[in-house]
C-alpha cells in the first residue's frame, strides 16, 4: 500500500456521522430525515448540516415534499456519491487490511 494514501481519502465521506448516513443510504436507496435520525441516533441539527455537505459535494439528492400537511425531506445517493463511497471503502479496507483486528 502506498504510504501516502492519507492524501487520497475523501474527508466528506470520512467523517463518522456522514459515513453512518451514507452507509444507510447505500443499502436502502432512499430514506427520509426522521428515519435517518432514528437510525443513526444523530440530532436533527447534525443530520441537517451534514446532509448539506453531502449535497454540496453532489453525493446525495434531496427531495422535499409534503406528506399530508407536514414537510418531508428524503435523501438518496447519487451515482457520484455511490462511486466515491466505494472508492473510499476500497482504500480504507486496504489500509485496515494491513493491520490485524
Amino acid at each position: 500500500m502506498d504510504s501516502t494514501w492519507h492524501n487520497t481519502i475523501d474527508k466528506v465521506i470520512h467523517e463518522p456521522a456522514r459515513l453512518s448516513m451514507l452507509a444507510c443510504l447505500y443499502v436502502v436507496e432512499s430514506a427520509d430525515f426522521v428515519f435517518l435520525q432514528r437510525q443513526t441516533g444523530l440530532t436533527g441539527g447534525n443530520i441537517s448540516s451534514h446532509m448539506s455537505k453531502l449535497e454540496d459535494a453532489g453525493y446525495v439528492k434531496v427531495v422535499k415534499t409534503f406528506v399530508g400537511k407536514r414537510p418531508n425531506t428524503s435523501f438518496q445517493l447519487t451515482p457520484k456519491g455511490r462511486g466515491s463511497l466505494e472508492t473510499y471503502c476500497g482504500t480504507m479496507k486496504q489500509v485496515l487490511g494491513d493491520l490485524a483486528d
Copy 2:
C-alpha cells in the same frame, strides 16, 4: 452492526495523517521522526503536532536522544495504543464490510 457505531470511533486514531503514522508504528515497532516523515509524506510540522496528540492520548511513547551531535526523536506504540488501534480497526472493518468495494 449497531447503527450508532459512529459514537464509538476514536477520533484520535481516525484522523488519516495519524492513522498513517500509527500503521507504520504498528508494523515497525519503532521509528524516528525523519523516517516517518519520509514514509508518510507529511511535513515536519504535522508529524510534530499529530505526535503530540498521540502522546497525550497515551498511544505512543516518545524517546528523545542524540545521534552523534544531532537530536533524534523516535516513537513507538504503547500497549494502550496498540489496543486502541486494534479496536478502531475492528469497528471500521465491520462498518466497511457491510458495503461493497
